[in-house]
């Protein structure tokens, strides 16, 4: 069975675990870098990106996740997870390094404060009907390199991207009952999955 981990340092972890299980894959709560060896895919959940970055650095997750990506395993960042995956974070004052795995420039809290957080139906490449997207103090992508496919935009802002084995969204599929985004990601992870006996 395909094994998908959720980085469980802070944020909406149980919602992703639930989505993975409902979609028929095995869900793993990831608290230590050694757990990555066993996975086909890893989700970086929504939460506070500054908090998550500090904990990822402190507990040695950066290099192991970079190695994981290099092996062709699948990664999916939602909201804060998308920020952490970006190579360029606009106006970043953090001294700590971030993962920097996607060739994109991201702006944090780009739709305003919490009172401006919203729901909208989005067209997404690869899905046949609009997706109910929930944006919470969400980031958006300002620019991408040629290696990055734009998967969805909302009012001319890029809100979902894919670069090879890495997927990222500004919004939170895990807060809905719609399992199509996690389905897309599990398919990506399945392609990276190497059966143990081969």
């Amino acid at each position: 069975m395909v094994k998908i981990g959720v980085l469980a340092l802070q944020g909406a972890v149980s919602e992703h675990l639930n989505h993975i299980e409902k979609s028929g894959a095995e869900a793993i709560n990831v608290k230590n870098p050694e757990q990555l060896d066993d996975l086909d895919g890893l989700i970086l959940p929504g939460g506070e990106s500054t908090t998550m970055r500090k904990l990822m650095l402190k507990y040695g997750f950066l290099e192991p996740i970079r190695t994981f990506a290099k092996k062709g395993k699948a990664l999916f960042g939602t909201c804060a997870g998308m920020i952490i995956l970006a190579k360029d974070i606009e106006g970043d004052l953090e001294e700590e390094e971030s993962l920097g795995l996607m060739d994109v420039k991201v702006r944090r809290n780009s739709f305003g404060r919490q009172v401006d957080s919203f729901e909208a139906d989005l067209d997404i490449t690869g899905l046949d009907a609009p997706f109910p997207a929930i944006f919470i103090r969400a980031p958006h992508i300002l620019s991408v390199s040629d290696h990055v496919d734009i998967v969805s935009t909302w009012e001319d802002r890029i809100v979902a991207v894919r670069q090879g084995n890495i997927l990222a969204t500004s919004f939170h599929p895990e807060l809905t009952d719609d399992y199509r985004m996690i389905g897309l990601f599990i398919d990506m992870a399945r392609k990276a999955h190497v059966p143990a006996d081969s």
Binding site: A8, L9, Q10, G11, A12, V13, S14, E15, K31, G46, G47, E48, T50, T51, K54, L55, K58, C79, A80, R108, N109, G112, R113, Q114, V115, D116, S117, F118, E119, A120, D121, I134, F135, I136, R137, E155, H172, L175, T176
Partner: protein, 296 residues
């Protein structure tokens, strides 16, 4: 923008879900807010005084000076919460208009209404409210609270009340989940809880909103204990900036909350933190001095 909606339950509750596993810290100025953010806090609560100082000062405790809230909002990129008095419609609307990310309708301040809480479903900004049992939790959810926290006993540095409230709410949730459908209405009467909310709890197998621990968390081990008891995250009020070394203390509490079952680590984190806040035995507080008695 025909298909765009703000202030939905999913958006308001979702904001609290993003805070899970994190620590929300009380701060009284920009400088403290930056220390909290640097330590890894998921949000800050902007206040004029922390609860232990509210206790000492006595008199009427109100919404903070908006200048303090604004200063904190400018200083950090993490969400900023602020407290309004129970039932104070105008304080809540003012905080909403300022763009505060979350409002705590809080018993730490002197109540403005001794009968009614805010109808929180009418606001775009989400609210967090305190609770001691399932009835109180369900009434606040019924009014539109998007997040809960135990009341504990604020400003005491004593975890005993937060433990009592977390255990009680979770035990009562388990009771409801295991009930037959025909028992729910009487349970609603006995708990003082809206029937519809109990039905949701039974169906989902859990509270429909996130529930944090608050009111008495003073050490990394206290924070970890509350996570062990099923809290979704932790509020630390007076504990951090009343300790000897707030920066070290704040970092230790954040890590203990994330790795709450790594006891060896918590032991390491607890070394040489300096003196925690002094603390008050609950028995030394009269009923009138207990903030948890506020709220209806």
């Amino acid at each position: 923008m025909v298909n765009t909606v703000v202030g939905t339950d999913r958006v308001k509750r979702g904001m609290a879900q993003m805070q899970k596993g994190g620590v929300i810290m009380d701060v009284v100025n920009a400088e403290q807010a930056k220390v909290a953010e640097e330590a890894g806090a998921v949000a800050v609560m902007a206040l004029e005084r922390v609860p232990s100082d509210i206790r000492k000062a006595g008199g009427v405790a109100r919404m903070a000076d908006p200048r303090i809230v604004e200063e904190v909002m400018k200083a950090v990129s993490i969400p900023v919460m602020a407290k309004a008095r129970i039932g104070h419609i105008t304080e809540a609307r003012v905080l909403e208009a300022m763009g505060v990310d979350y409002i705590d309708e809080s018993e730490v301040l002197t109540p403005a209404d001794e009968e009614y809480h805010l109808l929180k479903s009418q606001y775009t900004v989400p609210f967090v409210c305190g609770c001691r049992d399932l009835g109180e939790a369900a009434r606040r959810i019924g009014e539109g609270a998007a997040m809960l926290r135990t009341k504990g006993e604020p400003g005491t540095g004593n975890i005993v009340e937060a433990v009592r409230h977390m255990r009680k709410v979770n035990a009562q949730v388990r009771q409801v989940v295991n009930m037959n459908d025909d028992e729910l209405m009487t349970a609603a009467k006995n708990f003082g809880a809206p029937y519809e909310v109990l039905k949701q709890i039974k169906e989902a197998g859990r509270l429909p909103v996130v529930n944090f621990a608050a009111g008495g968390v003073a050490t990394p081990a206290d924070a970890a204990l509350m996570m062990e008891l099923g809290a979704d995250g932790v509020f630390v009020g007076s504990g951090i900036f009343k300790s000897e070394n707030p920066e070290k203390f704040a970092k230790a509490i954040v890590q203990a909350t994330t790795y709450y079952t790594d006891y060896k680590l918590i032991g390491e984190l607890s070394k040489e933190l300096g003196t925690a806040m002094k603390g008050i035995d609950i028995a030394d507080l009269t009923l009138e001095q207990r903030m948890q008695e506020r709220g209806w």
